[in-house]
């Protein structure tokens, strides 16, 4: 199995698998970063992802192109984000409980609508997705070339989204204000900033990004929607947000770690038939825990994250 790391083709292949497994996570995790930096702990990423996946499939079929799928996928994910946001930011519902509720509602709704709108045979509901676009020359770079430069637009979008999100948070006024909502909403409030609106905005954007994460699965990877197809990726994205210390780049790296270890375990498995497969399945989680212990260490969430902001409470 060493050839996985030494043979350029196998390595390139591993790299490509890592990237594909990571891209949906990256979108969702970026969403999570925005939400949590604005002070809202959002575990409803899973719900937004699955609704996004359904939305993307429906939109791409109805609109006849993958582009429509992107729009409807983001919209569907954002709608769940909005519902979660109104419950937590305006009504003051506990963010964890509301997140669990939103996940259930999202999972249920996606499957419910799918059953209403599509036949029971996946292959009959094939979705027009994105094809790979190749950049001649660059695509021939060994190892990373094919994965990075002969791929679909969603992967590029994810790769661009990470620095963009980092830039927004670190360098723009919006980013500064958003972070203030998560650190000390009172400071933002007395500065005349609409705390709840900002938070809601962040949560909706988060839902949309998670929706895109779901859309990637449909539009770029498997070209169909199936019930429960996100299979817990939203929770992995939540973990990636924390593992990446609430920073876009960190979260993206954490997603890559999950993707890489999953890619490796899928390759290690069949060469080691006598090792119980569960050991391979947990590899990504163990890798993440070890990374936390060895590399990441102490981390501080945004100070006001998880809290409901009420103006007249001291």
């Amino acid at each position: 199995m060493i050839d996985m790391l030494t043979d350029p083709t196998a390595l390139g292949d591993l790299f490509a698998t890592m990237l594909r497994l990571s891209v949906p996570l990256v979108f969702a995790a970026l969403g999570g970063v925005f939400s949590e930096r604005a002070g809202v702990v959002n575990i409803s990423l899973e719900g937004s992802m699955i609704l996004g996946a359904f939305g993307a499939a429906w939109g791409a079929i109805a609109g006849g192109s993958a582009g429509w799928g992107v729009v409807t996928g983001a919209f569907a994910g954002g709608m769940l984000g909005a519902a979660f946001g109104i419950a937590t930011i305006y009504a003051g519902a506990n963010q964890i409980v509301a997140g669990i509720g939103a996940n259930l509602a999202g999972l249920g709704l996606a499957a419910f609508l799918h059953r209403l709108s599509a036949s029971g045979r996946a292959a009959e509901n094939r979705v027009p997705g994105f094809g790979d676009v190749s950049i001649p020359g660059l695509a021939d770079i060994p190892i990373v070339g094919k994965a990075l430069f002969s791929t679909d637009p969603m992967t590029w979008a994810a790769i661009l989204a990470v620095p963009l999100a980092a830039l927004i948070l670190a360098r723009t006024g919006i980013g500064l204000r958003l972070k203030a909502m998560g650190e000390n909403p009172r400071a933002a409030d007395v500065a005349g900033l609409p705390v709840r609106l900002y938070r809601l905005g962040a949560v909706v954007v988060c839902g949309m990004l998670a929706g895109l994460g779901g859309a990637v699965l449909v539009l770029s990877q498997v070209f169909l929607f199936t019930e429960g197809m996100t299979a817990g990726k939203g929770f992995i994205a939540v973990a990636a947000v924390i593992l990446g210390r609430w920073s876009p780049v960190g979260a993206a790296l954490a997603c890559l770690l999950f993707g890489l270890s999953d890619a490796i375990q899928l390759r290690l498995q069949f060469a080691n038939g006598d090792v119980p497969y569960q050991l391979f399945v947990v590899l990504p989680y163990l890798a993440a825990i070890l990374t936390l212990v060895g590399l990441v260490g102490r981390s501080r969430p945004p100070q006001a994250s998880g809290s409901f902001y009420r103006r007249e409470s001291r």
Partner: protein
Amino acid sequence: MPRLTLDGIAKSFGGVSALDGITLDIAPGTVHAVLGENGAGKSTLMNILSGLYRPDAGQVALDGRPVPPGDPKRALDLGFGMIHQHLTLVDRFTGAENVALATGGRLDRGLVRARAEAEALAAELGFTVDLDAKVEDMPPGMRQRVEILKVLVRGARIVVLDEPTSVLTPAEASGLMAALRRLAAAGRTVLLVTHKLAEVFAAADEVTVLRRGRLVATLPIGKVDADGLAALMVGADEADMITAVPAATAVIDSHATPVLEVAGLDIDDDAGRSAVRGVSFRIAPGEVLGIAGVDGNGQAELAEALAGLRRPVAGDVLVDGVTVAPGRARERLTRHRVAYVPRDRHHTGLVLDMDGARNLILRDVDRPPVRRRFGLIDRALAARRLTQAITEFDVRGAAHGPARALSGGNQQKLVLARELGHAPRLLIAEQPTKGLDVAATAFVQRKVLELTRSGAAVLYISTELDELRTVADRIAVMSGGRITGIVSRAEADPQTLGRLMGGGTARPASDTRTGDAA
């Protein structure tokens, strides 16, 4: 220029009235002081002006036009700017970012501009601030200065300040007062909440006194003196107590074993930088040693180390001649009977989300009599302590609810009641009268002296020289992490202390090393 009118403002919290029928008329171009005991409702009133709180009744008007209630954004747009008693800064932002946040900074350009304006203003006010430092790394005084800059940079027309000078040095405070006068002269309206009567006389044109949520009087400053104001605040019968100057009468036995002996203490700050270097001193039974100095010169780390919250790098600490193990808070509280009034009541002093009674057993919850059989807490005892604190220390509003709901001064009183209530051998007090009203300040100073009469020692850290000269027998000055000199109360004139704070020594010194603390 705007004329500010308040008409029948009322506000209650959970059925408890904090303000009742406040009607005021403030002329443009004046500085208007607002005075009152702790819990009188000053902050509540100011928060209503800034739109943070929505009044239950009444209205605020600017030039006759009503200001929409409970809308901070509109209030800002109309020109209200408020410096809050409990700072509204983002700890993990730099000073400049905090200013940019308040001024609506956009992209990098906004940050640069906000920074430049804040810097210019700081220079004008005589403030030293490091705008590139994170607020969480700043000493309290600097945070206060950032809060002030943040609001003033916005160019508010009505500037509301809620106890802005409680952690400023005298020089900074007078710089601020002068600036307020200039603002008024330029036609702005200034509302100043303070407990320091000197500031009232220095800066204000008019003064309003609140008592228990009601407006007692509004007077031009020329028509009233300090005693008169005190009487208005607390009622004539109690006013005498305030002005009775406490006399330092404890007998200091400088030959007895010192209660506190500190030898060669080196302490690092959170970032691992050297904060205190080679500090040695003794405090005799019955003695109050004051520590003066500009905030951030190692006082905080010294106090924390002595309280067992921070492990010194080197040096010894002896209480009553017994070496105390480094960094063992519990042992200090109980075995050595060290009391500690921390500078930050929100972070260290109190558990804001616990009620008064539970806060009062923080020191000794795990020992009798609070701890009873099977590890049970004696809740009746805690309740009795609260009753006692309420009567003795006059903690207002603490009978029910979390400490969070208390006014700033009353929170401070709760801490003091707990720390002074255990007959300590040694009291370490950082800015213990911060935010206290005049009566409470005098009361605390009396309590400190009472303590010394029982043979206890006190380390009294304050940035206020007047206060130190009232309570301390000797005053040590800290600068750059060192004690640059210790002088007796009699020698402690502002010039000497000022020189020591600048890093000089009392004797024209040869062992002054200022550079190496960095």
